[in-house]
Structures are given as structure tokens and as C-alpha cells.
Amino acid sequence: MSAPPQEVTGTVTRAEVEDLLFLEAELLDNWDLDTWLTLYTEDAHYVIPATDTHDGDPAADLVLIDDDRLRMTARVERLNSRKAHREYPHSNLRHLVSNVRVGAVDGSSDDPEFPVRANFVVYRARNGKDVSFVGSYEYRLVQRDGQLRIRSKRVMLDMTSLRPANDVAIIL
């Protein structure tokens, strides 16, 4: 028998969450991807399911992006390299984040997790073409060394296909 489950406690305010999400948006818009990575935990995941399967499971289904920390780092190196031809020169990006909702704390008692939902629009302008991505974010946030950090981010696209935006070479 394991010990009776301990109540998971911990609090975070919406203002603290918004500070983190807005900082992330700013770093992505500024293409400061090395700093962007520091907002994520070592065991982080960044996932975008396919547009026709919002419940897509990266262990069984085809998804658009399924990055662990290693692949996030590779993605950042690629985008910084000038050889990611789709993003060199970089797009002008604007991440707009709104409708932030903080759910009830869960996870384990020694590592509480805060589920967060938010809506987004990301504008991408490049080479005379402007496209937008619309959808919602599902985050799981944790405290690391007194800082709020991102353990997972799942990006649910509202578009019924990726076609209006062509591809997703940028970070959403």
C-alpha cells in the first residue's frame, strides 16, 4: 500500500502566469530563442497535434511537432543557424496571448503543477505574405528555483488545416 495521497497545495496568481506567457511571446517575437529555452524545464515537451486530430497522442499518432528538450534545442539551433531557409531571413512575428485561465493545482505534493489555458493569435509576415495561426495553448507550469517554468505546452490549432499558413517552421 502506498501512503494516502497528500493534498497538493500551491498557489499562483493569474498575473504571475500572464507575466510568464507574455514574456514568452515577447522572446519569440524578438527571435531571442536561446532565452526562450530557459523558460522551459529540463523535462519539457512542446507539442502541436495535427489539425484533424486535436486529441492526437505523439506516441501513437502523427502530429505536427513533438519536441522534448533535446529537439527544442535542435529546433532553436536550426532557426538560429541561417540555414533554416524557410526562416532565413526570419519572419516578423507577433504573438498575441489572451483569455488566460489558471486551473486547479495538481501534479504531486512535492512538485505541484498548474494547468493553464490561453487563446492566441500569431501573425507571421515574410516576403510579402502575411498569415496567421489561431488557436489555444494548454500549458502545465511548475516552480523551479522560485521561478515559474513551463513543463509542457500543447498548441491546439483552430484552422481545419495548416493550408492557410502553408507550414509551421516558426515556434507558435
Binding site: 506516441a59 505536427l64 511537432i65 531557409h85 524557410r86 493550408r163 502553408n166 507550414d167
Partner: protein
């Protein structure tokens, strides 16, 4: 433009030969082939109305009543497994009453398909089974008002094709030597192959034929995909061997590049990035295929990558993972692309995970390679607009036995395209 001064109703006879110029060691394609709206109009008629086109895979409609909705050759269709016949039916997705789309979801299971407009009802075999206020019609032609089947439907080893031309040759004749390459994919999975959930539906602002070329282009890999190779190296892959193989024509415009490459293959070539847990399973798969097919064929199946074009617009690349990709022009400078992942049933989870990783990092529109292909194709299309240069050069390898990084496989496509565009006996199909 210089070559095309006809009224938009049609091209003059011999358009294909005017746009594809072949000499002993020189093969050129006129850029009007990628930029002329008149060419696009005629491609719809001469190519997409008369060749076998890919609809879907039988695994997508396993049970009676299962259906998927598709755009094939620019036309809305749906494919459904008939409840009575258990056969694959492919219907024009338009009500025989006054036209509304009958199947309005991308996939699902249904006993009947009811048109919402006036509630005519069809069963999964296409039979008209219900008409409100039927007395108003007297003798309604129930037989004749069933859903309209596409003129020809056939399946080869799970891949379902259709053709709008009732007089087209049999599918197996059409596929010619491409059949051998489909066999290699299917034979490697004793329990059969299935399409996984999740579809890549993306777009490219370029002429559709540029993706034909790109999908079977070994020449661009090292230059365009530097960041992908760096990623492989970071994960422990030895890329020093490079890409080594051949390009060949398979008849009727089908073509392949068949080569060895540094990356691992879930069937069945182990690489360090697969991890030790997967090694045992990959060795077992290899041994099993050797047992079933002999050493030489097993080596072909396990070690060779095969980028296959089935003319005109189906790509089945059996590489780090298997993609089934089709694409259609929506304008002379824009195509829509749909790609699925094909995988063996009951695959061991460690190997399946590597397969999924490989697909999305290399083949996916959010990966480390495909966005750069999108950029390359759009860049070519933008370059065409500059004018001045009239011809693309596709001669690489004409002076030697063609390697995988030559262009013989593209010439196979263009020769068939030329012949289709030259024909003046091809009518629009209803």
C-alpha cells in the same frame, strides 16, 4: 507568352513537345509549363481526368459503413465500405437531386447518407433509399438516381485509386513497374500496413509539378537540408557515407530513386538514435524478412530508401518512415498537399516511436526539412516570374548511368507529361 497564343479554350496540338525539349545530352522544360494558366486548365482535362489517381488506403475504412471524404483530382468524392458488399465504393460527393454535398464530415461511420437539403437518403452502396413525399414523382427512377460512382475504382495491395475515364487501362497495367516498389513497402509488414491517425494538410505557393520533382530529388538533399543532417549528427548518426543509389523510370511516367542513406529505417536498419531497446526488435525484423524473402530482397527492403512517384501526383517515400503524399494544383502557382503516415500494424512501441519521430522531423511541415523544401519550391516559382530565363535544365545524369542524385527519374515524369499534353483525343470527363 511566346509558346501559347491560343484561346483559353484549349492548347494547340503538340503543346507537350513544345514545352519539353529533349536532345541527346540535354533535357529542358519550358517555364510556361509552371506559369501558364492555359496549361493548368489543360492539365485538369488531359492529366487528372484520364489517369488513375490515389483516393485513400483500405485501412482507413476497415468496417462496413466507414467512410472518408476526399478531394481527388480537384473533385469532392467520398470512399465508403459498403455494408452489404463489404467492398470499397467511391462516389461523387454530390446529391443526385440538385447537387448538395452528401457526405459532410471528413471521416466516420454511417448506415445511411442523408442529404440535408431535401432529405434524400442513400445507403452505403449508393442506392437511393428514401425520398420525402415520393408520391409527387409518380415513377421515380430509383435505380438511376443512386449516388454516382466514379467511372473506375480499383485497389492495389490496399492502395485505392480511381479514374474518371471509363476507358482507362487496368490499374495493374497502369502501375507498370511501380507495382514492384509498392510490393516492397507492403511485403515488409507481415501483419499489413495501416494509415495512422493525424494528417498533414499543408500548402505551397508553387506549381504542383515542382513537388513532383522535389519528392524524387536526391540532388538537393545535402545543400537544402543541412540543418536536418546536423540534427542527425547531433543524435549520433554517421553521415559520412552520404547518399548512394540509382534513379530509374518505371514506365507510364512512374519513377523512383533507390538508394542507401545514413539514416536508420524502422524496417530494418538500426542507428544509434534508435536506442538499444529498439535494436533487438530491428535485428529480429531483418532476420524474419531474410527468412521470408531471401538475403538479397531483404537487404533491398531493409537498407534501401525508395522515393516513389506514381504518376501523376502520388508519392510513396519509404525512407526514415513511410509517407503517402498527394497534391493538387488550385492555381498555377499554388498547390495543396495532403500527407499520411503508413506504418506496419502491431509495430513494437520503441520502433513505432522512432518512426513517428523520423516522420515529423523530416517529412512534416513543422519539421527540420520540409519547410525548407516549401521555401525552395516557392523560391523557384518566384524566380520564374522574373522572365528572361525561359527553360529549366533537367539534364543531370544523361551522360552516365543515372545515380539517385541525377535527374533521370524527373525526365521519366516529364516525358509522360509531354505525351499526355500532346494528345488531342482527351476530352473532359463528366
Amino acid at each position: 507568352m511566346t509558346l501559347l497564343n491560343d484561346p483559353p479554350s484549349g492548347l494547340i496540338t503538340g503543346t507537350g513537345s513544345r514545352l519539353v525539349a529533349e536532345e541527346p545530352e540535354r533535357f529542358r522544360v519550358h517555364r510556361d509549363a509552371m506559369t501558364s494558366p492555359a496549361v493548368l486548365t489543360e492539365e485538369q482535362r488531359r492529366i487528372f481526368d484520364h489517369n488513375w489517381l490515389y483516393v485513400g488506403h483500405e485501412s482507413e475504412i476497415e468496417n462496413p459503413g466507414d467512410y472518408v471524404r476526399r478531394q481527388v483530382g480537384g473533385r469532392p468524392l467520398f470512399m465508403v465500405r459498403g455494408a452489404k458488399s463489404n467492398q470499397v465504393n467511391v462516389f461523387h460527393n454530390s446529391c443526385t437531386h440538385r447537387g448538395a454535398v452528401v457526405c459532410r464530415r471528413d471521416q466516420g461511420n454511417a448506415k445511411v447518407f442523408q442529404c440535408f437539403y431535401h432529405a434524400w437518403t442513400f445507403d452505403s452502396e449508393g442506392k437511393l433509399s428514401g425520398v420525402p413525399d415520393r408520391e409527387a414523382y409518380g415513377n421515380l427512377d430509383w435505380e438511376g438516381l443512386g449516388l454516382k460512382r466514379v467511372a473506375r475504382v480499383a485497389s492495389y495491395r490496399g492502395f485505392v485509386f480511381c479514374c474518371y475515364d471509363p476507358d482507362v487501362v487496368e490499374l495493374e497495367t497502369y502501375l507498370a513497374d511501380a507495382k514492384d516498389y509498392l510490393d516492397l513497402v507492403v511485403d515488409a509488414a507481415p501483419a499489413g500496413m495501416e494509415i495512422l491517425r493525424g494528417t498533414n494538410e499543408y500548402g505551397i505557393d508553387a506549381n504542383w509539378k515542382l513537388l513532383v520533382e522535389n519528392s524524387i530529388d536526391g540532388y538537393h538533399a545535402v545543400s537544402t537540408h543541412d540543418t536536418y543532417f546536423k540534427y542527425l549528427v547531433a543524435l549520433g548518426t554517421d553521415v559520412s557515407g552520404g547518399v548512394d543509389g540509382v534513379g530509374r523510370s518505371l514506365g507510364n511516367g512512374h519513377a523512383v530513386i533507390d538508394y542507401r542513406a545514413p539514416w536508420g529505417r524502422p524496417i530494418a536498419k538500426w542507428e544509434p538514435l534508435f536506442g538499444d531497446a529498439a535494436r533487438v526488435e530491428i535485428d529480429r525484423l531483418r532476420a524474419e524478412l531474410t527468412e521470408r524473402f531471401g538475403e538479397a530482397r531483404a537487404r533491398w527492403m531493409c537498407e534501401h530508401n525508395r522515393n516513389l512517384l506514381v504518376y501523376p501526383n502520388l508519392i510513396i517515400n519509404d525512407i526514415q518512415a513511410v509517407t503517402v503524399r498527394t497534391f493538387m494544383p488550385v492555381a498555377v502557382d499554388r498547390m495543396i498537399v495532403t500527407a499520411w503516415e503508413l506504418a506496419p500494424r502491431n509495430e513494437e512501441p520503441d520502433v513505432r516511436q522512432r518512426r513517428l519521430d523520423s516522420f515529423l522531423t523530416f517529412l512534416g511541415p513543422g519539421g527540420f526539412a520540409t519547410p525548407d523544401d516549401v521555401e525552395a519550391l516557392e523560391s523557384c516559382q518566384q524566380g520564374f516570374a522574373s522572365g528572361g530565363v525561359e527553360w529549366n535544365d533537367i539534364s543531370r545524369g544523361m551522360a552516365r548511368p543515372p545515380a539517385a542524385n541525377d535527374e533521370a527519374q524527373m525526365r521519366a515524369f516529364w516525358r509522360r507529361w509531354r505525351d499526355d499534353m500532346d494528345r488531342d483525343d482527351l476530352r473532359s470527363m463528366p
